[in-house]
């Protein structure tokens, strides 16, 4: 299956959708299509129903966390130094805001081909974490999207039953995020070592300081 032809077919049939090819440099050669949230459901319905494509089996749904990072770059600026205008190097820091990515792997049971990979990205990792749910298109996304909501914190609009799946309902954070810090509520074994020993000592000193 050539992803380029699928892309042009989608563009011809779903008006207004913005698709982007995401190249995969690995030997697996599984390139993916980045969808915009607005038209994602239309694209999904087209992929499922179009004859010749018939991607009726949504096998795997998962999330990836890409935290924001600071990028430092040197910029030449003209500045007044000691009364003379000079060209000076200045370190300018820009913060790239992070994103949460959701990945769908589709196969076709009817035509026995696949996989194709779809991706969607949230605006950021704090408040703009809304994405459309593809559960109305493929039932198999239901529990997997619940898991992503639970572990990554992506809110799926249009999901019939968006609750935590693996963590308990009162839990507040999202453990699969890269910046998740697990709570220091362990009962340490006396045989702690390496990172656990370091953690145990820190725990002990904090407990004594209290």
């Amino acid at each position: 299956m050539n992803l380029e032809t699928i892309k042009s077919e989608i563009e011809a049939n779903v008006p207004g959708c913005r698709l982007e090819m995401v190249a995969n440099p690995s030997p697996s050669g599984q390139h993916s299509l980045l969808l915009d949230g607005e038209h994602a459901v239309d694209v999904a319905v087209f992929l499922r129903d179009a004859s010749g494509l018939r991607f009726d089996f949504c096998s795997n749904v998962t999330g990836i966390d890409w935290p924001g990072k600071e990028v430092a770059e040197k910029v030449k600026v003209r500045k007044l130094v000691d009364g003379i205008e000079q060209e000076v190097d200045e370190l300018r820091k820009t913060t790239l805001h992070g994103t949460l990515e959701v990945v769908y792997h589709l196969y076709s049971v009817e035509m026995k081909h696949g996989p194709i990979t779809l991706r969607m990205r949230t605006e950021d990792r704090d408040t703009g974490v809304h994405l459309p749910s593809l559960t109305p298109v493929w039932r198999s996304a239901e529990f997997q999207e619940r898991e992503i909501f639970d572990l990554f914190g992506v809110v799926f609009d249009g999901h019939p039953d968006l609750r935590r799946l693996l963590m308990w309902p009162d839990f507040v954070d999202h453990p699969m995020r890269r910046d998740y810090v697990d709570p220091d509520d362990y009962e340490y074994e006396p045989t702690a070592h390496d990172a656990v020993l370091q953690r145990a000592n820190q725990h002990q000193s904090e407990a004594e300081g209290r």
């Binding site: 995969n24 440099p25 690995s26 030997p27 697996s28 599984q30 009726d56 089996f57 949504c58 096998s59 795997n60 998962t62 990836i64 990945v103 792997h105 049971v109 026995k112 996989p115 990979t117 493929w138 039932r139 198999s140 239901e142 529990f143 997997q144 572990l151 935590r164 799946l165 693996l166 963590m167 308990w168 453990p175 699969m176």
Partner: protein
């Protein structure tokens, strides 16, 4: 005393109309219920004996396998995959090795492919035999069918122990091959075990297939339609029992499965009986694959000589690899950023996804059927909760 003269008898014969909320009973099955195969809970709402709603509650065995693997090297996660579906450690190893091989472009030598097929199909035999035993146990055939299955499983676990050093936590696959070659005499012993297996299947079939109690308990119970099976991502024997002709061994041609002659059994009703029957028939096909593989296995290296074990860092990129595990489609999705540990490591668990249709299968059935339906789905909670 005749019932006609009994003062309260006519109340029992009143037809049930729309039940009010007060008449419904909510019960919690699990997490320590013996039929849940581990720690799994169902909130079941009953109207008399009939199931009105059912909500599965997961997470009692959740340990965030994926996060742990992301803080570990690629090879370091290999023994941990054994613990996902602890009934079938070798197929878990295989799916992970396959995904990493796709990610890094590693070739597998021919002998290693044969070893993978032989150990993988042995895993399938013992998984299906035990599942049928558990299903009978759940439905009240106490002891005997399960012990018959365990007797056969023991022979296969002995083979695994001789080959890998462990009965269950085998840790057998490596990227680009397998960990150890066959010990002397192993293949002869395995040929005896496989040659004996059809006799056990004959015995099992003779006892169970036309058993009246079994047919009463399982036929037309927990029917899964073909459309729902495809839409809900159901895979493996459970999908094939609903008539979905989809076996990843045939579709993806991964490893060397295109060299073997085997059939894919399909069901037509999608009920518990078909799921039981498809597994029984699949075991015969596995025996056939094993006989062909053990006849044709060539000599040669068991691991790609170019593969370096230490300091393994795949180039940035991603890959999704999947195999037909005994329970269904087991997939691993890996994202590499060029560092020694995976940036993202995801397990696509067949047990969890096959379990998501539980409510659809149970609504309208009796409460005692839940146990049979759950048993026929074939779950291992180590994989459901990860």
């Amino acid at each position: 005393m005749s019932t006609a003269t009994h003062p309260t008898a006519h109340f029992d014969l009143e037809p049930m109309t729309e039940p009010s909320i007060e008449q419904l009973l909510e019960i919690s099955m699990g997490p320590q219920h013996p039929s849940t195969h581990g720690v799994f809970r169902m909130k079941v709402i009953l109207d008399g004996e009939h199931v009105v709603r059912l909500k599965p509650v997961f997470g009692y065995l959740h340990r965030n396998h994926e996060k742990i693997a992301e803080n570990e090297t690629y090879l370091g996660s290999m023994p941990y995959t054994d613990r996902l579906d602890y009934m079938c450690p070798i197929t878990n190893n295989w799916a992970y090795a396959l995904a990493v091989e796709k990610l890094a472009g590693i070739e597998v030598p021919e002998r290693a492919e044969y070893l993978r097929v032989i150990t993988g199909e042995l895993t399938r035999l013992q998984n299906h035999a035990c599942l049928i035993g558990f299903l009978m146990q759940d439905m009240g055939a106490s002891g005997t069918p399960l012990m018959y299955a365990f007797r056969e499983r023991e022979k296969i676990l002995d083979l695994f122990e001789a080959l890998t050093g462990a009965r269950m936590m085998c840790n057998y696959m490596r990227f680009g091959g397998c960990r150890v070659d066959l010990p002397t005499g192993w293949l002869d012993q395995a040929k005896i075990v496989v040659a004996d297996f059809p006799r056990f299947l004959d015995e099992y079939e003779h006892l169970l297939v036309s058993n009246e109690i079994l047919m009463d308990r399982t036929q037309e119970v927990g029917v899964l339609s073909r459309e729902l099976a495809v839409s809900a991502g159901i895979s493996g024997p459970m999908a094939r029992a609903s008539g979905v002709d989809y076996d990843i061994r045939k579709v993806d041609h991964y490893s060397i499965y295109d060299r073997f002659n085997f059939r894919v059994p399909l069901g037509s009703h999608g009920d518990v009986y078909d799921r039981f029957m498809v597994r029984l028939l699949e075991m015969r096909e596995s025996v056939s694959i094993l006989q062909q593989a053990m006849r044709d296995i060539p000599g040669g290296p068991i691991v790609d000589p170019k593969m370096k074990i230490r300091g393994f860092r795949p180039k940035p990129g991603e890959a999704y690899g999947r195999i037909e595990a005994p329970k269904g489609e087991l997939g691993f999705y890996l994202v590499s950023d060029g560092s020694p540990n995976p940036y993202r490591y995801r397990v696509r668990p067949p047990s969890l996804i096959n379990l998501t249709v539980l409510e659809d299968l149970c609504v309208g059935q009796n409460v005692a059927d839940i146990v049979a339906i759950l048993g026929s789905i074939d779950i291992v909670l180590g994989e459901v909760d990860r």
